[in-house]
Protein backbone atom coordinates (compact mmCIF):
# COMPACT_ATOMS: atom_id res chain seq x y z
CA UNK A 1 0.00 0.00 0.00
CA UNK A 2 1.49 3.32 -1.03
CA UNK A 3 1.55 6.19 1.40
CA UNK A 4 -1.19 8.81 1.22
CA UNK A 5 1.31 11.67 0.96
CA UNK A 6 5.02 11.64 0.37
CA UNK A 7 7.06 14.78 0.96
CA UNK A 8 10.39 14.38 -0.81
CA UNK A 9 13.18 16.87 -0.12
CA UNK A 10 10.93 19.92 -0.22
CA UNK A 11 12.66 23.28 0.00
CA UNK A 12 11.17 26.75 -0.06
CA UNK A 13 12.78 30.13 0.40
CA UNK A 14 10.44 33.12 0.21
CA UNK A 15 11.85 36.22 -1.48
CA UNK A 16 13.34 38.59 1.02
CA UNK A 17 13.20 36.13 3.92
CA UNK A 18 16.38 35.66 5.95
CA UNK A 19 15.97 31.91 6.47
CA UNK A 20 14.29 29.29 4.29
CA UNK A 21 10.69 28.49 5.19
CA UNK A 22 11.38 24.82 4.49
CA UNK A 23 14.95 23.57 4.49
CA UNK A 24 14.67 20.18 2.85
CA UNK A 25 11.80 18.24 4.40
CA UNK A 26 11.11 14.57 3.69
CA UNK A 27 8.60 12.18 5.24
CA UNK A 28 5.60 10.07 4.41
CA UNK A 29 2.06 10.16 5.75
CA UNK A 30 0.25 6.84 5.87
CA UNK A 31 -3.25 6.23 4.63
CA UNK A 32 -6.10 6.84 7.11
CA UNK A 33 -3.69 8.44 9.51
CA UNK A 34 -4.34 11.40 11.78
CA UNK A 35 -1.05 13.16 11.18
CA UNK A 36 -0.11 16.41 12.92
CA UNK A 37 2.42 19.03 11.93
CA UNK A 38 3.41 20.63 15.21
CA UNK A 39 5.68 23.58 15.78
CA UNK A 40 5.90 27.21 16.84
CA UNK A 41 4.73 29.89 14.42
CA UNK A 42 7.15 30.39 11.58
CA UNK A 43 8.40 26.80 11.63
CA UNK A 44 7.11 26.10 8.13
CA UNK A 45 4.16 23.89 9.02
CA UNK A 46 1.54 26.09 7.35
CA UNK A 47 3.75 26.58 4.29
CA UNK A 48 3.99 22.81 3.95
CA UNK A 49 0.21 22.44 4.28
CA UNK A 50 -0.37 25.14 1.65
CA UNK A 51 2.01 23.28 -0.67
CA UNK A 52 0.02 20.09 -0.33
CA UNK A 53 -3.14 22.10 -1.08
CA UNK A 54 -1.41 23.74 -4.06
CA UNK A 55 -1.32 27.37 -2.91
CA UNK A 56 2.48 27.43 -2.66
CA UNK A 57 5.10 25.85 -4.87
CA UNK A 58 8.31 24.27 -3.54
CA UNK A 59 11.61 25.60 -4.89
CA UNK A 60 12.77 22.01 -5.18
CA UNK A 61 11.62 18.57 -4.11
CA UNK A 62 8.39 16.76 -4.82
CA UNK A 63 5.01 16.12 -3.24
CA UNK A 64 3.37 12.81 -4.09
CA UNK A 65 -0.23 11.85 -3.50
CA UNK A 66 -0.78 8.09 -3.72
CA UNK A 67 2.63 7.83 -5.31
CA UNK A 68 1.96 10.40 -8.02
CA UNK A 69 3.37 13.93 -8.11
CA UNK A 70 0.75 16.67 -7.69
CA UNK A 71 3.07 19.61 -8.35
CA UNK A 72 1.68 20.04 -11.87
CA UNK A 73 -1.90 20.29 -10.62
CA UNK A 74 -3.65 23.53 -9.66
CA UNK A 75 -5.43 23.58 -6.27
CA UNK A 76 -8.81 22.94 -7.90
CA UNK A 77 -7.53 19.72 -9.52
CA UNK A 78 -6.03 18.18 -6.39
CA UNK A 79 -8.09 15.60 -4.47
CA UNK A 80 -7.35 17.34 -1.17
CA UNK A 81 -9.50 19.86 0.68
CA UNK A 82 -8.69 22.36 3.37
CA UNK A 83 -10.37 23.51 6.56
CA UNK A 84 -9.05 27.04 6.88
CA UNK A 85 -7.98 28.65 10.12
CA UNK A 86 -10.56 31.42 9.70
CA UNK A 87 -13.04 28.87 8.23
CA UNK A 88 -13.35 31.03 5.06
CA UNK A 89 -17.05 30.20 4.74
CA UNK A 90 -18.79 31.95 1.84
CA UNK A 91 -20.75 34.72 3.59
CA UNK A 92 -23.26 35.10 0.75
CA UNK A 93 -24.31 31.46 0.85
CA UNK A 94 -26.35 29.47 3.34
CA UNK A 95 -24.91 26.53 5.26
CA UNK A 96 -26.40 24.12 2.72
CA UNK A 97 -25.06 26.16 -0.20
CA UNK A 98 -21.60 26.23 1.36
CA UNK A 99 -21.61 22.46 1.72
CA UNK A 100 -23.03 22.01 -1.79
CA UNK A 101 -20.24 24.06 -3.37
CA UNK A 102 -17.62 21.31 -3.48
CA UNK A 103 -19.82 18.49 -4.84
CA UNK A 104 -21.25 20.91 -7.39
CA UNK A 105 -17.77 21.84 -8.63
CA UNK A 106 -17.00 18.13 -8.94
CA UNK A 107 -19.92 17.92 -11.34
CA UNK A 108 -21.99 15.46 -9.34
CA UNK A 109 -25.63 14.87 -10.19
CA UNK A 110 -28.32 16.65 -8.19
CA UNK A 111 -29.71 13.67 -6.24
CA UNK A 112 -26.20 12.66 -5.26
CA UNK A 113 -25.36 16.19 -4.15
CA UNK A 114 -28.52 16.38 -2.06
CA UNK A 115 -27.79 13.02 -0.49
CA UNK A 116 -24.24 14.07 0.32
CA UNK A 117 -25.28 17.39 1.88
CA UNK A 118 -27.86 15.59 4.02
CA UNK A 119 -25.17 13.14 5.14
CA UNK A 120 -22.79 15.98 6.08
CA UNK A 121 -25.49 17.81 8.00
CA UNK A 122 -26.22 14.65 9.98
CA UNK A 123 -22.54 13.78 10.46
CA UNK A 124 -21.73 17.25 11.77
CA UNK A 125 -24.95 17.68 13.74
CA UNK A 126 -26.03 20.77 11.83
CA UNK A 127 -29.71 19.82 11.66
CA UNK A 128 -31.98 22.85 11.41
CA UNK A 129 -29.19 25.17 10.31
CA UNK A 130 -29.14 24.40 6.59
CA UNK A 131 -30.76 27.70 5.63
CA UNK A 132 -28.76 29.95 7.93
CA UNK A 133 -25.93 32.21 6.86
CA UNK A 134 -22.45 31.75 8.35
CA UNK A 135 -22.64 34.99 10.34
CA UNK A 136 -25.75 33.71 12.13
CA UNK A 137 -23.77 30.78 13.54
CA UNK A 138 -21.55 30.47 16.60
CA UNK A 139 -17.84 29.83 16.23
CA UNK A 140 -18.24 26.11 16.90
CA UNK A 141 -21.06 25.81 14.37
CA UNK A 142 -19.04 27.69 11.73
CA UNK A 143 -16.21 25.29 12.43
CA UNK A 144 -18.45 22.32 11.78
CA UNK A 145 -19.78 23.86 8.56
CA UNK A 146 -16.19 24.38 7.38
CA UNK A 147 -15.49 20.72 8.12
CA UNK A 148 -18.66 19.61 6.37
CA UNK A 149 -17.90 21.75 3.34
CA UNK A 150 -14.43 20.27 2.97
CA UNK A 151 -15.56 16.68 3.62
CA UNK A 152 -18.49 16.97 1.19
CA UNK A 153 -15.97 17.31 -1.63
CA UNK A 154 -14.83 13.78 -0.63
CA UNK A 155 -11.10 14.48 -0.42
CA UNK A 156 -8.49 11.73 -0.27
CA UNK A 157 -6.67 13.88 2.25
CA UNK A 158 -8.18 16.55 4.51
CA UNK A 159 -5.92 19.44 5.47
CA UNK A 160 -6.70 21.30 8.68
CA UNK A 161 -4.92 24.60 9.29
CA UNK A 162 -5.15 25.35 13.03
CA UNK A 163 -8.93 24.96 12.84
CA UNK A 164 -9.51 25.04 16.58
CA UNK A 165 -7.42 28.08 17.47
CA UNK A 166 -10.38 30.49 17.40
CA UNK A 167 -12.53 28.43 19.78
CA UNK A 168 -12.66 28.73 23.54
CA UNK A 169 -11.14 25.99 25.68
CA UNK A 170 -14.27 23.97 26.39
CA UNK A 171 -15.40 23.99 22.76
CA UNK A 172 -11.88 23.17 21.63
CA UNK A 173 -11.85 20.04 23.80
CA UNK A 174 -15.22 18.96 22.38
CA UNK A 175 -14.05 19.56 18.81
CA UNK A 176 -10.85 17.58 19.42
CA UNK A 177 -12.94 14.52 20.23
CA UNK A 178 -15.31 15.33 17.38
CA UNK A 179 -12.44 15.57 14.88
CA UNK A 180 -11.00 12.26 15.99
CA UNK A 181 -14.45 10.66 15.64
CA UNK A 182 -14.89 12.15 12.15
CA UNK A 183 -11.50 10.90 11.05
CA UNK A 184 -12.28 7.39 12.24
CA UNK A 185 -15.78 7.39 10.74
CA UNK A 186 -14.77 8.71 7.33
CA UNK A 187 -11.45 6.88 7.10
CA UNK A 188 -9.91 9.92 5.42
CA UNK A 189 -6.28 10.87 5.99
CA UNK A 190 -6.16 14.01 8.15
CA UNK A 191 -3.20 16.37 8.15
CA UNK A 192 -3.58 18.70 11.07
CA UNK A 193 -1.48 21.80 11.66
CA UNK A 194 -1.19 23.22 15.16
CA UNK A 195 1.17 24.99 17.53
CA UNK A 196 -0.68 23.52 20.53
CA UNK A 197 1.26 20.49 21.77
CA UNK A 198 -1.55 19.27 23.99
CA UNK A 199 -3.94 19.26 21.04
CA UNK A 200 -1.38 17.32 19.00
CA UNK A 201 -0.86 14.73 21.74
CA UNK A 202 -4.62 14.23 22.23
CA UNK A 203 -5.62 13.61 18.65
CA UNK A 204 -2.73 12.40 16.54
CA UNK A 205 -1.70 8.96 15.40
CA UNK A 206 1.69 10.44 14.60
CA UNK A 207 3.23 13.88 15.03
CA UNK A 208 5.95 15.65 13.08
CA UNK A 209 7.60 18.28 15.27
CA UNK A 210 8.98 21.11 13.15
CA UNK A 211 11.31 23.99 13.85
CA UNK A 212 12.93 26.54 11.52
CA UNK A 213 11.84 24.73 8.38
CA UNK A 214 13.11 21.33 9.45
CA UNK A 215 11.48 18.22 10.88
CA UNK A 216 12.91 17.56 14.35
CA UNK A 217 11.17 14.27 15.07
CA UNK A 218 8.35 12.13 13.76
CA UNK A 219 6.60 9.61 15.94
CA UNK A 220 3.56 8.59 17.94
CA UNK A 221 2.59 10.95 20.79
CA UNK A 222 4.00 8.60 23.46
CA UNK A 223 7.28 8.29 21.60
CA UNK A 224 7.63 12.03 21.20
CA UNK A 225 6.77 12.73 24.81
CA UNK A 226 8.84 9.98 26.39
CA UNK A 227 11.77 9.95 23.98
CA UNK A 228 12.24 13.43 22.57
CA UNK A 229 14.94 13.31 19.90
CA UNK A 230 16.57 16.57 20.93
CA UNK A 231 16.43 19.49 23.29
CA UNK A 232 13.98 21.46 21.14
CA UNK A 233 11.40 18.65 21.13
CA UNK A 234 11.85 18.08 24.87
CA UNK A 235 11.24 21.74 25.60
CA UNK A 236 8.42 22.24 23.11
CA UNK A 237 6.38 19.21 24.13
CA UNK A 238 5.19 19.29 27.70
CA UNK A 239 7.13 20.59 30.66
CA UNK A 240 10.74 19.57 31.06
CA UNK A 241 13.77 20.10 33.33
CA UNK A 242 16.96 20.89 31.43
CA UNK A 243 20.13 20.66 33.47
CA UNK A 244 23.72 21.15 32.29
CA UNK A 245 25.82 18.10 33.28
CA UNK A 246 29.16 16.37 32.78
CA UNK A 247 29.45 12.68 32.08
CA UNK A 248 31.61 10.99 34.68
CA UNK A 249 31.21 7.30 33.89
CA UNK A 250 29.60 4.90 31.46
CA UNK A 251 28.40 1.37 32.13
CA UNK A 252 26.90 -0.35 29.12
CA UNK A 253 24.12 1.89 27.85
CA UNK A 254 23.81 3.64 31.19
CA UNK A 255 25.80 6.64 32.34
CA UNK A 256 26.49 8.71 35.44
CA UNK A 257 26.49 12.53 35.33
CA UNK A 258 27.33 15.30 37.80
CA UNK A 259 25.25 18.43 37.84
CA UNK A 260 25.95 21.88 39.33
CA UNK A 261 26.21 21.46 43.10
CA UNK A 262 27.95 18.11 42.75
CA UNK A 263 24.93 15.80 42.87
CA UNK A 264 24.84 12.75 40.60
CA UNK A 265 22.10 11.78 38.15
CA UNK A 266 22.01 8.37 36.48
CA UNK A 267 20.56 7.80 33.01
CA UNK A 268 19.57 4.32 31.82
CA UNK A 269 20.19 5.32 28.20
CA UNK A 270 23.24 7.56 27.85
CA UNK A 271 24.39 6.41 24.42
CA UNK A 272 26.52 9.02 22.70
CA UNK A 273 27.95 10.54 25.87
CA UNK A 274 31.63 9.83 26.57
CA UNK A 275 33.10 10.41 30.04
CA UNK A 276 34.10 14.07 30.38
CA UNK A 277 31.57 15.24 27.78
CA UNK A 278 29.43 18.28 28.57
CA UNK A 279 25.77 17.42 27.98
CA UNK A 280 22.29 18.60 28.86
CA UNK A 281 20.02 16.27 30.78
CA UNK A 282 16.28 16.45 30.22
CA UNK A 283 13.62 14.89 32.44
CA UNK A 284 9.94 15.49 33.08
CA UNK A 285 8.89 17.11 36.40
CA UNK A 286 6.44 14.26 37.06
CA UNK A 287 9.39 11.83 37.11
CA UNK A 288 11.08 13.71 39.94
CA UNK A 289 10.52 12.52 43.53
CA UNK A 290 11.33 13.77 47.01
CA UNK A 291 13.33 10.76 48.19
CA UNK A 292 16.80 11.15 46.66
CA UNK A 293 20.16 12.84 46.91
CA UNK A 294 19.97 15.49 44.21
CA UNK A 295 20.16 18.49 46.50
CA UNK A 296 18.56 21.80 45.63
CA UNK A 297 17.17 24.71 47.62
CA UNK A 298 13.39 24.81 47.81
CA UNK A 299 11.90 28.03 46.45
CA UNK A 300 8.14 27.76 46.21
CA UNK A 301 5.32 25.38 45.51
CA UNK A 302 2.51 26.03 43.01
CA UNK A 303 -0.79 24.34 43.71
CA UNK A 304 -2.42 23.07 40.50
CA UNK A 305 -5.41 21.18 41.84
CA UNK A 306 -4.54 17.62 40.95
CA UNK A 307 -0.82 18.29 41.36
CA UNK A 308 1.62 20.55 43.11
CA UNK A 309 4.61 21.88 41.20
CA UNK A 310 7.72 22.44 43.35
CA UNK A 311 10.39 24.88 42.21
CA UNK A 312 13.88 24.45 43.64
CA UNK A 313 17.18 25.95 42.53
CA UNK A 314 20.61 24.43 41.94
CA UNK A 315 23.72 26.43 42.96
CA UNK A 316 24.18 27.79 39.39
CA UNK A 317 20.61 29.11 39.38
CA UNK A 318 19.09 26.35 37.25
CA UNK A 319 15.49 25.77 38.32
CA UNK A 320 14.51 22.19 39.05
CA UNK A 321 10.82 21.37 38.96
CA UNK A 322 9.08 18.41 40.53
CA UNK A 323 5.44 17.57 39.98
CA UNK A 324 3.87 15.74 42.90
CA UNK A 325 0.36 14.46 43.35
CA UNK A 326 -1.57 16.83 45.54
CA UNK A 327 -2.64 15.37 48.90
CA UNK A 328 0.65 13.51 49.32
CA UNK A 329 3.52 14.83 51.41
CA UNK A 330 3.40 18.48 52.45
CA UNK A 331 5.81 20.53 50.34
CA UNK A 332 9.14 21.33 52.04
CA UNK A 333 9.53 24.81 53.52
CA UNK A 334 10.99 27.57 51.37
CA UNK A 335 14.77 27.87 51.77
CA UNK A 336 15.29 24.32 53.03
CA UNK A 337 17.62 21.87 51.33
CA UNK A 338 15.68 19.12 49.59
CA UNK A 339 16.97 15.81 48.26
CA UNK A 340 15.25 15.09 44.96
CA UNK A 341 15.28 11.79 43.12
CA UNK A 342 15.20 11.42 39.32
CA UNK A 343 14.05 8.16 37.73
CA UNK A 344 17.02 6.93 35.62
CA UNK A 345 14.77 5.69 32.77
CA UNK A 346 13.21 9.17 32.52
CA UNK A 347 16.51 10.95 31.86
CA UNK A 348 17.34 11.93 28.25
CA UNK A 349 20.85 12.97 27.32
CA UNK A 350 21.17 15.78 24.78
CA UNK A 351 24.39 17.19 23.40
CA UNK A 352 24.98 20.48 25.20
Amino acid sequence: MTDAITIAGVRKHFDGAAAPALAGVSFAIRRNEFFTLLGPSGCGKTTLLRMIAGFEHPDSGDILLDGRSVLGLNPNRRPVNTVFQSYALFPHMTVAENITFGPEMLGLKRPEIRERVARMIALLRLEGMADRRPRELSGGQQQRVALGRALAASPQVLLLDEPLSALDLKLRKEMQIELKRLQQETGITFIFVTHDQEEALTMSDRIAVMSHGEVMQIGAPVEIYEHPANRFVAEFIGDTNLVAATCVARDGAAGRFTIPGGSDIVATDASGATPGAKVTLGFRPERVGLDGRVTAVMQHAVYLGTDALLHASLPDGTVLRARLRAGGATPPATGSDVGFSVAPDAVRVFSA
Binding site: P75, S86, L106
Partner: protein, 292 residues
Protein backbone atom coordinates in the same frame (compact mmCIF):
# COMPACT_ATOMS: atom_id res chain seq x y z
CA UNK B 1 -38.30 63.39 24.82
CA UNK B 2 -36.30 66.26 26.24
CA UNK B 3 -33.09 64.28 26.47
CA UNK B 4 -33.43 62.85 22.98
CA UNK B 5 -33.75 66.39 21.58
CA UNK B 6 -30.65 67.44 23.44
CA UNK B 7 -28.87 64.41 22.01
CA UNK B 8 -29.70 65.62 18.53
CA UNK B 9 -28.16 69.05 19.14
CA UNK B 10 -24.77 68.21 17.60
CA UNK B 11 -26.50 67.33 14.35
CA UNK B 12 -27.98 70.83 14.11
CA UNK B 13 -25.34 72.29 11.75
CA UNK B 14 -25.85 69.44 9.31
CA UNK B 15 -29.61 69.70 9.63
CA UNK B 16 -29.57 73.44 9.04
CA UNK B 17 -27.29 72.98 6.06
CA UNK B 18 -29.60 70.39 4.53
CA UNK B 19 -32.68 72.53 5.18
CA UNK B 20 -31.11 75.65 3.69
CA UNK B 21 -29.39 74.15 0.68
CA UNK B 22 -31.41 71.08 -0.19
CA UNK B 23 -34.93 71.03 1.19
CA UNK B 24 -35.38 74.78 0.65
CA UNK B 25 -34.43 74.85 -3.03
CA UNK B 26 -36.44 71.68 -3.64
CA UNK B 27 -39.57 73.25 -2.15
CA UNK B 28 -38.90 76.40 -4.15
CA UNK B 29 -38.59 74.33 -7.30
CA UNK B 30 -41.82 72.50 -6.50
CA UNK B 31 -43.53 75.85 -5.94
CA UNK B 32 -42.17 77.36 -9.16
CA UNK B 33 -43.38 74.35 -11.13
CA UNK B 34 -46.94 75.20 -10.12
CA UNK B 35 -46.78 78.84 -11.24
CA UNK B 36 -47.50 80.52 -14.55
CA UNK B 37 -44.64 81.66 -16.69
CA UNK B 38 -43.96 85.36 -16.93
CA UNK B 39 -44.30 86.97 -20.32
CA UNK B 40 -40.62 87.87 -20.46
CA UNK B 41 -39.15 85.00 -18.47
CA UNK B 42 -39.37 84.36 -14.75
CA UNK B 43 -42.68 83.53 -13.15
CA UNK B 44 -45.82 85.22 -11.92
CA UNK B 45 -45.49 84.56 -8.21
CA UNK B 46 -49.21 84.55 -7.33
CA UNK B 47 -50.76 82.82 -10.28
CA UNK B 48 -51.03 79.05 -9.99
CA UNK B 49 -51.63 76.45 -12.66
CA UNK B 50 -50.63 72.93 -13.64
CA UNK B 51 -49.90 73.89 -17.20
CA UNK B 52 -46.24 72.98 -16.74
CA UNK B 53 -47.05 69.34 -15.94
CA UNK B 54 -49.71 69.19 -18.61
CA UNK B 55 -47.21 70.43 -21.19
CA UNK B 56 -45.08 67.36 -20.61
CA UNK B 57 -47.59 65.12 -22.32
CA UNK B 58 -50.14 67.35 -24.03
CA UNK B 59 -50.06 70.22 -26.44
CA UNK B 60 -52.65 73.01 -26.26
CA UNK B 61 -53.51 74.64 -29.55
CA UNK B 62 -54.63 78.21 -30.10
CA UNK B 63 -58.25 77.57 -29.21
CA UNK B 64 -57.36 75.53 -26.11
CA UNK B 65 -57.86 71.97 -27.33
CA UNK B 66 -55.48 69.37 -25.88
CA UNK B 67 -53.68 66.88 -28.10
CA UNK B 68 -50.98 64.33 -27.30
CA UNK B 69 -47.42 65.60 -27.81
CA UNK B 70 -44.80 62.87 -27.63
CA UNK B 71 -41.79 65.16 -28.15
CA UNK B 72 -40.86 65.56 -24.49
CA UNK B 73 -41.62 61.94 -23.65
CA UNK B 74 -39.27 60.99 -26.47
CA UNK B 75 -36.52 63.02 -24.83
CA UNK B 76 -37.24 61.28 -21.51
CA UNK B 77 -37.16 57.90 -23.24
CA UNK B 78 -33.92 58.72 -25.03
CA UNK B 79 -32.34 59.88 -21.78
CA UNK B 80 -33.26 56.66 -20.00
CA UNK B 81 -32.04 54.64 -22.95
CA UNK B 82 -28.70 56.47 -23.14
CA UNK B 83 -28.24 56.26 -19.37
CA UNK B 84 -28.99 52.52 -19.43
CA UNK B 85 -26.60 51.88 -22.32
CA UNK B 86 -23.91 53.99 -20.63
CA UNK B 87 -24.38 51.99 -17.42
CA UNK B 88 -24.04 48.70 -19.30
CA UNK B 89 -20.97 49.87 -21.21
CA UNK B 90 -19.26 51.18 -18.07
CA UNK B 91 -20.13 47.88 -16.30
CA UNK B 92 -18.61 45.90 -19.16
CA UNK B 93 -15.41 47.95 -18.98
CA UNK B 94 -15.43 48.64 -15.24
CA UNK B 95 -15.77 45.09 -13.85
CA UNK B 96 -12.75 43.63 -15.70
CA UNK B 97 -10.72 46.78 -14.98
CA UNK B 98 -11.50 46.67 -11.25
CA UNK B 99 -10.79 42.93 -11.17
CA UNK B 100 -7.46 43.47 -12.88
CA UNK B 101 -6.57 46.26 -10.45
CA UNK B 102 -7.28 44.13 -7.39
CA UNK B 103 -5.08 41.32 -8.67
CA UNK B 104 -2.01 43.55 -9.03
CA UNK B 105 0.54 44.02 -6.26
CA UNK B 106 -0.49 46.87 -3.91
CA UNK B 107 1.92 49.44 -5.34
CA UNK B 108 0.82 48.92 -8.92
CA UNK B 109 -2.86 48.86 -8.04
CA UNK B 110 -2.39 52.16 -6.15
CA UNK B 111 -0.82 53.64 -9.27
CA UNK B 112 -3.74 52.49 -11.42
CA UNK B 113 -6.18 53.84 -8.85
CA UNK B 114 -4.42 57.18 -9.13
CA UNK B 115 -4.60 57.05 -12.94
CA UNK B 116 -8.34 56.35 -12.79
CA UNK B 117 -8.86 59.56 -10.82
CA UNK B 118 -6.58 61.70 -12.99
CA UNK B 119 -9.39 62.79 -15.37
CA UNK B 120 -11.12 64.49 -12.42
CA UNK B 121 -8.31 67.01 -12.41
CA UNK B 122 -9.38 68.45 -15.73
CA UNK B 123 -12.66 70.21 -16.30
CA UNK B 124 -15.41 67.98 -17.67
CA UNK B 125 -16.16 70.55 -20.36
CA UNK B 126 -12.58 70.51 -21.60
CA UNK B 127 -12.47 66.73 -21.66
CA UNK B 128 -15.69 66.53 -23.64
CA UNK B 129 -14.44 69.18 -26.00
CA UNK B 130 -11.37 67.01 -26.58
CA UNK B 131 -13.72 64.28 -27.79
CA UNK B 132 -15.04 66.69 -30.46
CA UNK B 133 -11.53 66.95 -31.84
CA UNK B 134 -11.09 63.17 -31.68
CA UNK B 135 -14.45 62.20 -33.17
CA UNK B 136 -14.97 64.82 -35.90
CA UNK B 137 -14.65 63.98 -39.56
CA UNK B 138 -11.02 64.45 -40.49
CA UNK B 139 -9.99 63.93 -36.87
CA UNK B 140 -7.50 61.29 -35.70
CA UNK B 141 -10.05 58.47 -35.33
CA UNK B 142 -11.57 59.16 -38.73
CA UNK B 143 -8.11 59.36 -40.28
CA UNK B 144 -6.90 56.16 -38.62
CA UNK B 145 -9.96 54.11 -39.62
CA UNK B 146 -9.69 55.44 -43.18
CA UNK B 147 -6.00 54.58 -43.29
CA UNK B 148 -6.78 51.06 -42.07
CA UNK B 149 -9.38 50.80 -44.79
CA UNK B 150 -12.16 50.04 -42.29
CA UNK B 151 -14.16 53.04 -43.48
CA UNK B 152 -14.35 54.43 -46.99
CA UNK B 153 -15.63 57.88 -46.14
CA UNK B 154 -16.09 60.21 -43.19
CA UNK B 155 -17.23 58.38 -40.07
CA UNK B 156 -19.97 60.92 -39.26
CA UNK B 157 -19.99 60.07 -35.56
CA UNK B 158 -19.88 63.54 -34.09
CA UNK B 159 -23.28 65.10 -33.29
CA UNK B 160 -25.06 61.72 -33.07
CA UNK B 161 -26.39 59.79 -30.06
CA UNK B 162 -23.34 57.51 -30.50
CA UNK B 163 -21.02 60.44 -29.82
CA UNK B 164 -23.11 61.35 -26.78
CA UNK B 165 -22.88 57.76 -25.59
CA UNK B 166 -19.10 57.69 -26.02
CA UNK B 167 -18.80 60.97 -24.12
CA UNK B 168 -21.06 59.76 -21.31
CA UNK B 169 -19.31 56.40 -20.94
CA UNK B 170 -15.97 58.17 -20.88
CA UNK B 171 -17.10 60.77 -18.34
CA UNK B 172 -18.72 58.31 -15.92
CA UNK B 173 -16.38 55.32 -16.14
CA UNK B 174 -14.39 56.26 -12.99
CA UNK B 175 -17.64 56.32 -10.99
CA UNK B 176 -18.16 52.68 -11.99
CA UNK B 177 -14.59 51.48 -11.47
CA UNK B 178 -14.01 52.99 -8.03
CA UNK B 179 -16.87 51.40 -6.02
CA UNK B 180 -16.40 48.02 -7.72
CA UNK B 181 -12.68 48.15 -7.01
CA UNK B 182 -13.34 48.97 -3.36
CA UNK B 183 -15.84 46.10 -3.05
CA UNK B 184 -13.50 43.61 -4.72
CA UNK B 185 -10.54 44.80 -2.66
CA UNK B 186 -12.51 44.03 0.49
CA UNK B 187 -13.14 40.40 -0.46
CA UNK B 188 -11.20 38.06 1.82
CA UNK B 189 -8.52 36.36 -0.32
CA UNK B 190 -9.03 33.20 1.68
CA UNK B 191 -12.56 32.88 0.26
CA UNK B 192 -11.07 32.76 -3.22
CA UNK B 193 -8.53 30.18 -2.07
CA UNK B 194 -11.35 28.19 -0.48
CA UNK B 195 -13.28 28.20 -3.75
CA UNK B 196 -10.24 26.97 -5.70
CA UNK B 197 -9.61 24.40 -2.97
CA UNK B 198 -13.14 23.05 -3.40
CA UNK B 199 -12.53 22.47 -7.09
CA UNK B 200 -13.79 25.65 -8.73
CA UNK B 201 -12.00 26.85 -11.87
CA UNK B 202 -11.31 30.54 -12.51
CA UNK B 203 -14.65 31.22 -14.18
CA UNK B 204 -16.58 29.53 -11.36
CA UNK B 205 -14.60 31.45 -8.75
CA UNK B 206 -15.51 34.66 -10.56
CA UNK B 207 -19.22 33.93 -11.04
CA UNK B 208 -19.90 32.13 -7.75
CA UNK B 209 -17.72 34.02 -5.30
CA UNK B 210 -16.12 37.24 -6.60
CA UNK B 211 -19.08 38.80 -8.42
CA UNK B 212 -21.71 38.01 -5.74
CA UNK B 213 -19.45 39.43 -3.05
CA UNK B 214 -18.69 42.51 -5.19
CA UNK B 215 -22.42 43.05 -5.81
CA UNK B 216 -22.80 45.98 -3.40
CA UNK B 217 -20.05 47.80 -5.32
CA UNK B 218 -21.58 46.87 -8.67
CA UNK B 219 -24.97 48.21 -7.57
CA UNK B 220 -23.42 51.38 -6.14
CA UNK B 221 -21.41 51.96 -9.32
CA UNK B 222 -24.49 51.45 -11.49
CA UNK B 223 -26.48 53.99 -9.45
CA UNK B 224 -23.58 56.44 -9.49
CA UNK B 225 -23.43 56.20 -13.29
CA UNK B 226 -27.11 55.86 -14.18
CA UNK B 227 -28.50 58.69 -12.07
CA UNK B 228 -26.18 61.54 -13.08
CA UNK B 229 -26.22 60.21 -16.63
CA UNK B 230 -29.96 60.84 -16.83
CA UNK B 231 -29.43 64.48 -16.06
CA UNK B 232 -26.23 64.78 -18.08
CA UNK B 233 -25.82 68.13 -19.76
CA UNK B 234 -22.26 68.59 -21.01
CA UNK B 235 -21.80 65.50 -23.18
CA UNK B 236 -25.09 65.73 -25.10
CA UNK B 237 -24.67 69.50 -25.44
CA UNK B 238 -21.18 69.27 -26.94
CA UNK B 239 -21.13 65.89 -28.67
CA UNK B 240 -24.77 65.18 -29.49
CA UNK B 241 -26.70 66.90 -32.20
CA UNK B 242 -30.21 68.27 -32.06
CA UNK B 243 -31.47 64.69 -32.35
CA UNK B 244 -29.83 63.49 -29.15
CA UNK B 245 -31.08 66.10 -26.75
CA UNK B 246 -31.39 64.75 -23.21
CA UNK B 247 -33.45 65.84 -20.20
CA UNK B 248 -30.59 67.96 -18.85
CA UNK B 249 -30.44 70.03 -22.02
CA UNK B 250 -34.21 70.35 -22.12
CA UNK B 251 -34.30 71.69 -18.58
CA UNK B 252 -31.45 74.07 -19.27
CA UNK B 253 -33.29 75.39 -22.31
CA UNK B 254 -36.39 76.18 -20.23
CA UNK B 255 -34.42 78.45 -17.94
CA UNK B 256 -32.51 79.92 -20.88
CA UNK B 257 -33.74 80.41 -24.39
CA UNK B 258 -37.28 79.10 -23.88
CA UNK B 259 -37.95 81.24 -20.81
CA UNK B 260 -40.33 78.76 -19.29
CA UNK B 261 -39.26 78.40 -15.67
CA UNK B 262 -42.34 76.49 -14.50
CA UNK B 263 -41.88 73.87 -17.23
CA UNK B 264 -38.17 73.54 -16.41
CA UNK B 265 -38.99 73.10 -12.72
CA UNK B 266 -41.72 70.57 -13.55
CA UNK B 267 -39.32 68.55 -15.71
CA UNK B 268 -36.78 68.49 -12.87
CA UNK B 269 -39.48 67.42 -10.36
CA UNK B 270 -40.70 64.56 -12.57
CA UNK B 271 -37.14 63.34 -13.09
CA UNK B 272 -36.51 63.51 -9.36
CA UNK B 273 -39.66 61.56 -8.48
CA UNK B 274 -38.91 58.85 -11.03
CA UNK B 275 -35.36 58.45 -9.69
CA UNK B 276 -36.46 58.38 -6.05
CA UNK B 277 -39.02 55.70 -6.83
CA UNK B 278 -36.39 53.68 -8.66
CA UNK B 279 -33.89 53.93 -5.82
CA UNK B 280 -36.62 53.06 -3.31
CA UNK B 281 -37.44 49.87 -5.21
CA UNK B 282 -33.76 49.01 -5.41
CA UNK B 283 -33.15 49.35 -1.69
CA UNK B 284 -36.35 47.45 -0.96
CA UNK B 285 -35.26 44.52 -3.11
CA UNK B 286 -31.81 44.69 -1.51
CA UNK B 287 -33.35 44.42 1.94
CA UNK B 288 -35.53 41.53 0.89
CA UNK B 289 -32.48 39.70 -0.47
CA UNK B 290 -30.75 40.10 2.88
CA UNK B 291 -33.72 38.82 4.84
CA UNK B 292 -34.18 35.77 2.62
Amino acid sequence: MKTSWRGLAPTAPAAIFLLAFMVGPLLLMLYVSTLERGAFGGVVWDSHSFVAYEKLVFERDLIGRLSLNPDYLTIFGRSFQLAAITTLVTLAIGIPTALFMTMLPPRQSALLLFLVTVPFWTNLLVRNFAWILLLRNGGPIDGFLGWLGVTSGPIDVLYTPLATGIGLAYSFLPFMILPIFVAMERIDRRLIEAAFDLGANRLRVLTRVVLPLAMPGIVAGSVLVFVPCLGAYVSPELLGGAKSMMIGNLIQAQFGASRNWPFGAALAMVLLVILLMGLGLLSLSGRRRKVA
